[in-house]
């Protein structure tokens, strides 16, 4: 027995010794940081859920990371109403259906020290178009003319969404005189911060850009670390290792809300949690009556209570200005769901508690669920939908999968879950075009086989409609059609949030998740 205690004591002492080293080291680091703070340095530690393998805005979605880091900027930005506001371009106009003019702000410098001119901007945009098919599709560009600070973009065909699309971080304006390797590791952009060290998928060290055009950044330095797991991100703030992070799960967010030690900034984002329904003939959900019944059977309000956010009324998030208030939404009504199912011939013939299909065969729907952005929300939603559908006699089998694309490609699903941005560039066309027409062009594709002539007609009209309010009206029409045909299960509008220690100031979560670190964030 004595030996056992000796052994346990030895283990504890060993761990204690390591911990002692760590505590000492942490204390030392902390002391250094504090001393520096009091002298000149304003530094914070930030956790991202994702740091890309490189920092070239033109590659894949790396521009989203460089934009969130505050190291790159686009000609225009999206405000919290998802409307364009001036950034590197201080003026713009639509000259004709195929021509857009931008005036590049005077006096803006890259972190390399070079001036941003229209030619530099044109080179950067063309580099993105040549490197990334997404960029090419966003602009439908024919050619660009540059003269001094005047930039003119001529498109191959009318592209009414071009202005908003210019806010996509793939169009971050970077100094193309930098080599590809330099861009990949340093960005060479115009943001309030510049990269001093980059470790792929791990860490980015930032320092203030002394030449920043929009005033002095609020911090001298920032260390950004990738922490994939949402709970680990939350604990890193609790342990004061991280000063600022975002995308904390709603259940965990309660630890910070109302606690004066922390700041919490939450906002409904353009993202919508959707359970996509397979409209193809191979799935029972090709029957619109079954889809409608399912839409009535799910209690969106209670889901919002579970994971945060708000109940979704349509394909577009409530944070978008696309006329959600004019749309008739499908409300929770399990009795109506049961009535539709009865009338459509979905009856429980073998008294096992689950309805059979119209031919009397077993009806079992396959629901694919995959984690998204390190969050548990999709799993919670999947279980909630399964539970609600069980109440109206619909049998749902949940499958947690690592890789949705295999199932999506083979069409081997009835539902699949996604947390999708309903207005990726603040414009309604992109989501509609990619998810609900056969002309899946950017980002995702119409994997559910949904097809509707009226939606196709609205897309055609959107291509030629340059007036913003008119575009929003068209979006509302489309949205109503999607609701009327129960295209998919629009479950909740997602909250996005930022959590920081109380000492961090001006960290406000923007509606558009292209942005995170801004020049205004500072520390007391």
């Amino acid at each position: 027995m004595k030996k056992l205690f000796s052994l346990i004591l030895a283990c504890v002492l060993t761990v204690g010794t390591f911990a002692g080293c760590k505590a000492e080291s942490a204390a030392t680091n902390s002391a250094v940081s504090t001393n520096s703070d009091t002298e000149t340095q304003k530094h914070i530690n930030v956790a991202f859920f994702w740091i890309s393998t490189g920092l070239d805005p033109a590659v894949d979605y790396d521009g989203w990371v460089t934009s969130r880091l505050g190291t790159s900027e686009t000609l225009i930005k999206l405000d919290d109403d998802l409307k364009p506001e001036a950034c590197l371009a201080d003026e713009w106009k639509n000259i004709d259906e195929n021509t857009w003019y931008f005036h590049i702000r005077e006096g803006v410098k890259f972190t390399t020290g070079n001036q941003v001119t229209a030619q530099e901007a044109a080179d950067s945009i063309m580099r993105a178009v040549e490197s990334n098919p997404r960029a090419e599709e966003y602009l439908k560009i024919d050619h660009i003319d540059a003269d001094g600070q005047d930039l003119t973009i001529v498109t191959k065909e009318p592209n009414a969404a071009l202005l908003n699309n210019m806010a996509e971080p793939v169009f971050s304006i970077i100094d193309t005189s930098c080599s590809d390797d330099e861009i990949r590791s340093k960005v060479c952009g115009t943001g309030p911060y510049m990269v001093t060290e980059f470790v792929s998928e791990n860490k980015v060290e930032l320092s203030a850009n002394p030449d920043y055009w929009d005033g002095e950044p609020g911090l001298d330095g920032i260390t950004v670390t990738q922490i994939v797991d949402s709970d680990a991100r939350a604990m890193s703030v609790q342990s004061k290792e991280i000063d600022l992070t975002n995308t904390i799960d709603n259940t965990t967010l309660k630890l910070f809300t109302g606690n004066s030690d922390y700041n919490v900034s939450s906002i409904i984002s353009p993202r919508v949690n959707v359970a996509y329904m397979n409209n193809a003939e191979t799935s029972p959900l090709s029957d619109v009556e079954l889809r409608k019944a399912i839409s009535y059977a799910v209690d969106r309000e209670s889901y919002a209570g579970l994971i945060g956010g708000s109940a979704a009324h349509s394909a577009y998030s409530d944070s978008t200005p696309f006329g959600n208030e004019t749309i008739d939404a499908i409300e929770y009504d399990p009795d109506k769901a049961a009535e539709i199912l009865d009338e459509a011939g979905y009856i429980d013939t073998d008294s096992d508690g689950f309805r059979e299909d119209r031919s009397g065969n077993q009806l079992k729907l396959k629901y694919l669920q995959a984690a998204d952005h390190g969050s548990a929300d999709s799993a919670i939603l999947a279980q909630a939908v399964q539970s609600d559908l069980k109440k109206v006699g619909i049998n749902v089998e949940l499958l947690a999968v690592e890789n949705l694309s295999d199932y999506q490609s083979s069409g081997d699903f009835d539902f699949y879950t996604a947390n999708d941005n309903s207005a990726p560039t603040g414009d309604p066309q992109l989501m509609l075009e990619t998810m609900y027409t056969k002309n899946a062009s950017s980002g995702k594709q119409n994997l559910t086989g949904y097809q509707n002539d009226d939606i196709d007609r609205i897309i055609e009209e959107m291509n030629k409609t340059f007036d913003t309010e008119e575009r929003y009206k068209l979006a509302a029409q489309a949205s109503q059609i999607l609701n009327d045909t129960a295209a998919n299960l629009f479950l909740t509008n997602s909250y996005i949030n930022m959590v920081s220690l109380a000492k961090v100031k001006n960290a406000e979560q923007p509606v558009c998740d292209y942005y995170f670190i801004t020049k205004d964030i500072t520390v007391e």
Partner: protein, 313 residues
């Protein structure tokens, strides 16, 4: 012995051919198209013409066996190809991630041995006494805890409440402790039970009773008679465990932001990064065959019965 090792090396070559070919065929059979996945990861859905062109460039239109042959020929020239996900040579990507995995696996294995053996032996020697009960109950709890949950609990206690460690693991001594504990606690608890059972089985053997009757001390019986006989199956099991550790532990890597090989291969599988998947498969095959070879050699050295049996065969 030399003949035996040579034979095992020849087996390794056959295994390598087999697993790489099977993996190649299985990944090719998956419905998603690597060319399409490449564009999806860029955020676009390519036209059929572009897809066809990309497939041609990537050599995906050739028969599987031709693709495999081409890949194999490159491997013989030391070229494992380029990772489509990470846009760099597979070897340099592996070289970046492997040291962290080796570090985590090595330390975990040593800790596991250092704790599991003494406690397993103690539980066996003190069978049905209080020490045995404590160890058995503790090991029962340890085995029952899933890695991700244990990791978060350890993180909460030691990083958040006590502030002894960081949530984000650093590449130093203190940074490795929580990931190692997360990995080893369930393993230690499993091995304690294995070791205890193996020793108890041997304790009832005739040769132990004989040794006792000759007045040999209990310590000597335990360490010089029982242990060499009991340890063989444990060593074989350890071979499998170390293989698993060296293959990366994606969940622990995710929770502790540890930049190892586990997450890398999960991502490679997701985006159908064939070259990276194949490199990983080679690594795993070498590890498993190599570690098991070492385990077999160790067993032969420790257990004369195996040596004699193989000689008579």
């Amino acid at each position: 012995m030399e003949k035996y090792i040579l034979k095992r090396f020849l087996q390794l070559i056959i295994v390598l051919f087999g697993v790489t070919l099977i993996t190649f065929i299985i990944t090719q059979a998956a419905p998603s198209d690597p060319a399409e996945m490449k564009y999806i990861s860029m955020g676009t859905i390519p036209s059929e013409e572009l897809l066809e062109q990309t497939r041609e460039e990537m050599g995906l239109n050739d028969p599987v066996i031709v693709q495999y042959g081409r890949w194999l020929a490159n491997v013989f020239h030391g070229d494992l190809g380029e990772s489509s996900k990470f846009s760099e040579p597979v070897l340099s990507q592996m070289a970046k991630k492997l040291p962290m995995t080796l570090e985590l696996a090595g330390v975990s294995f040593l800790v596991m041995i250092a704790v599991a053996f003494p406690l397993g032996i103690l539980a066996a020697v003190k069978k049905n006494k209080i020490a045995d009960y404590i160890i058995r109950v503790g090991s029962f709890f340890g085995i029952s805890m899933p890695n991700f949950w244990l990791g978060l609990i350890l993180m909460y206690i030691f990083a958040v409440r006590l502030g002894w460690f960081n949530v984000v693991s650093e590449n130093n001594l203190s940074g490795i402790i929580l990931p190692v504990l997360t990995l080893t606690i369930p393993m230690i608890c499993g091995y304690i039970r294995q070791i205890r059972t193996a020793i108890l089985e041997e304790m009832n053997s005739d040769y132990v009773i004989g040794a006792r009757s000759r007045g040999i001390s209990e310590k000597r019986i335990l360490f010089f008679h029982i242990m060499p006989n009991a340890i063989s199956p444990i060593i074989t099991l350890m071979g499998l465990s170390i293989g698993g550790l060296l293959g990366g532990t994606a969940i622990v890597e995710t929770v502790f932001s540890w930049q190892g090989i586990g997450n890398m291969v999960v991502e490679a599988i997701r985006v159908r990064d064939y070259n990276l998947i194949q490199a990983y498969v080679i690594w795993m095959a070498v590890i498993y065959v190599g570690v098991n070879l070492l385990a077999d050699i160790l067993c032969r050295a420790l257990d004369p019965r195996i040596r004699l049996k193989n000689k008579s065969d």
